[in-house]
Amino acid sequence: MKKFQILGLKNKIDLITEEIVKNSQIELLKKEKINKDFKYDQVENFYKPYFNRLNKIMDSLNLDQEIKNINFEQLNKFSLEELEDFINPIEKKINKLERITKKLDAEEKRLNNLIRHVYVMRNIDIELQSLKNLSYVTLIFGSLSQERYKRLIENVTEIPILVLKVNEDQERVWFFTFAKKNYQQKALDILNSVNFNRIELPDRVKEQPKDILNQSRHRLDKIEIIRDQIKLEFKKLKHRYQQHLFEYYRQALIFNRITDVNNSFYGKSDYFFITTGWISEENETEFEKLISNKYPEVLYSSQEVEFAEEEPPTIIENPDWIKSFSSLVKLYGLPKYGEIDPSLFFALSYILLFGIMFGDLGQGLIFVLLGLAVYKNKIKFITDQGIGYILISLGSSSMLFGTFYGSIFGMEDLIPALLIRPMENIMVWLGFTVMIGIFLLIISMIFNLFNSFKNKDYKEAFFSDSGLSGLILYLFLLSNLAAYGLQNSLLIPLPLTLAVVIILLLLIFFKEPLGNLLVGKKFSVDKKISEYLLESIFELFDSALGYLSNTLSFLRVGAFTLNHVGLSMAVIILSEMVSNSAGSLLILIAGNIVIMVLEGVVVGIQILRLEFFEIFSKFYSGSGREFKPLNIE
């Protein structure tokens, strides 16, 4: 990862941004501290309104805005006038259609409201018109939300008006209001203060309520017909302009994005622009060549950045099935630049441990099937395909170990065990899982060595408790233990053994000053000596204990294998206690489901714990930041 800087004349700014966006593997930095003559001025983005308008048109016409695979070919800059000329007529047509739709909506609402009012009076045979022109009383039709209606009734005690509910549903109330003529305005004021929705009687009605109802219903039918016609109009528009729309949209999108990028990532002076960012080394050679060939007057410079000064972002690339495990790794943190991405290791060890702890041919098969269903989008509420990958890989591993143990749906006597029956060889099995733990711990210490050497952090590499000294100490202790267990004697005489152990511990104890010595400084510590000693003593104590506890922690792997068998036995005993076979089958099925859910979750969490606590703490800082290249979206 290299940090680069581009300096150029302002008239090239768009072209350079275009190259950067097109490359789509370059990250620009916001507001880097640069020469103070450069300011982060904002240029007005003329494309934005057009882009938004085009977007809206596409929305109205139901056209998909596919952004993913936009090509940058033939970006002949069209003039904004040309764009305006294209958009304007379409916009006008759409607006007109939308206005009509709105009017229809309003009319429909009005008719429905009217129907609700008139419906109450359907059996009265007077002409409604006469109600409108009473000489002493005003009649107001209207509707309100339930809550506001309640408030109105509570508060309307002062003025001589009468409010009569004629109809209601869950949300609204329809009512008549009678008021004396000289209180008409007061009545309207108070109705307005609860924002009532006035419904006017149609002007020309002369008929009786029954006729009005018929007429209104007839008009509602007509509205439906007009709606269909409008739909057709939209289809026509879409058909006619589709191709051009896409083309203009593409260009507006690109130019809009370019201007946005210019505004947020570039420093500008009177004649020049400047920008900085991160680029990967393999990408750089080509990009630099392209810039220097195409734009000889633009300056491109780059440098490797000292890791301590600034943290470069990390590119995280993994195949799909690992990516799903990566999301678990991300819970802990992203790899720092130059640090091994532990995703692959994490995925493999997770799958292995899950199989060991949850070995069952039948239940594994169900996990696999579930995973396949998720993968093929058969399960609606889980859309993340990653979960499919996880289930499939965990299930397969579980199936494999299920055949090793001879276990299918918790039953141990149906198929022969290929390798071992853990329940019958408990101590051997627990020992074996601790061995796996030791193996994983050693690997993670080796990772730590690799990381520290790569980052030239020699203090960590040589003297830390998970560096070289720690690794040798750990291996030395283990081999002595093994020798003592097997042959009842140590590898080398006891005094020598003790001497080796103490020397290694001392190396770890003096990690700080020894590290300083390595990089050419004095044998000293930055902190107060007393403070350092106290801290180191505790740390040493902690790491010595850590070797033991981290190793023994892997006992849980074996314990859960046994636990699985134990739970299954309980289910089988329960099912055998039921006399009829249907009932015992039912218990068997229910028990298996419980085991799968309960144990599946517990095992999943326990492994996560092992990975994060025992393994990651040895080599993985997880303090990185993801590389976010600029692209068109």
Partner: protein
């Protein structure tokens, strides 16, 4: 029982944070400063606002920019509060902060539809840009009621905007929309508080109930003084909750002819005294009396109970009032008011 687990962590944290709040002495020092830049330096060097001001340090400081950063610091406290709260309290606090969103929305409506002052929006909105459901850029570029509606359509008060759309086109009046927004805010807050335990409700009423009471009194007083609305209309507009005022009193208050007679309709003595004093005040800064009253209540409440919501509410209100005072001082400095006059505008100044 639940309260035993719900509150101690957050309340301990709030205790610690409260201890960092500005002391009387800080306010005195601030008042004595002579320029906005000095005020900035004081806040930056001596108070917990340091981190909120970091991004504008080293520049020439403008009053608006400074105020915006200060106000935003208040809004940011939502994030850390959320980390400590259980889900129902989280809902409540989340809604509590909506008042800033509603204030923002009012600014948006007024600015875009009435005044249209450039850059005013981006300098004055403090909360609404935190909402993921809206496109902030499109919002401040909007130029008509429809466009605002369009941008805000995902928000829960979009309904209110829709409801008043037609009416707005007719009378170009925002009054009703603003009243309805407030009304909805307090109704929802009340609904959420209805789920609280008795003790929590007691404090909710003591603080937010008092605020609603005082808001209503202030409202009715203003309407009586400057407008001519009928009793029914007044009752329809005010916030329909009450704490130490009864519904009957509100009704009677809505019917008085002379605003100075309002006092006679209130039976709760502290309100009576407060209103009397406020009416007599020569400066006519009505609001300060009420805010001061709540401020004094808060000083008591904040150390009363460790196992209720009281600390959270008191903290939020006190932070807000502290901020308002700081801003008052900054504005006072900016317009070179004498120190004594600035002091008279502060919420914490006893009435």
């Amino acid at each position: 029982m639940a309260a035993l687990f719900q509150y101690p962590a957050i309340n301990a944290k709030l205790k610690a944070l409260s201890s960092k709040m500005l002391k009387e002495e800080d306010f005195q020092n601030l008042i004595e400063l002579n320029s906005v830049q000095e005020a900035f330096n004081y806040l930056y060097d001596n108070t917990y606002y340091h981190k909120d001001l970091e991004d504008i340090s080293g520049q020439e400081i403008h009053r608006r920019q400074l105020e915006l950063n200060l106000k935003k610091s208040l809004v940011f406290s939502e994030d850390f509060l959320n980390k400590y709260l259980s889900s129902d309290l989280k809902n409540f606090v989340e809604h509590y902060f909506k008042k800033f969103e509603i204030e923002d929305l009012k600014i948006i409506l007024r600015t875009i539809l009435m005044e249209n002052e450039e850059d005013y929006l981006s300098d004055n909105l403090i909360y609404i840009d935190r909402n993921q459901k809206i496109n902030f850029n499109n919002l401040i570029q909007a130029s008509s009621y429809e466009e605002i509606q369009e941008v805000l359509k995902e928000l829960h008060y979009a309904e209110i905007l829709d409801e008043f759309a037609e009416q707005y086109q007719q009378n170009k009046n925002l009054f009703q929309i603003e009243m309805t927004l407030d009304f909805h805010y307090f109704s929802r807050l009340n609904d959420l508080a209805a789920e609280f335990s008795n003790k929590d409700q007691k404090y909710f009423n003591k603080i937010i109930g008092t605020q609603i009471d005082l808001l209503n009194i202030q409202w009715i007083y203003r309407i009586k003084k400057y407008y001519n609305l009928s009793s029914g209309e007044i009752l329809n507009y005010i916030i329909p909750f009450h704490f130490k005022i009864t519904r009957e009193e509100l009704r009677k208050m809505s019917q008085v002819d002379n605003p100075n007679n309002l006092v006679k309709q209130i039976s709760y003595a502290p309100y009576q005294r407060l209103l009397e004093k406020a009416v007599e005040d020569v400066n006519n800064i009505f609001e300060r009396f009420f805010l001061n009253y709540i401020f004094m209540q808060l000083q008591q409440i904040k150390s009363e109970s460790f196992f209720t919501i009281s600390n959270i509410l008191a903290y939020l209100y006190l932070r807000e009032y502290e901020l308002r005072d700081i801003i008052t001082i900054i504005e006072g400095i900016r317009y070179s008011l004498p120190d004594d006059r600035i002091k008279n505008f502060l919420i914490r100044k006893e009435v």
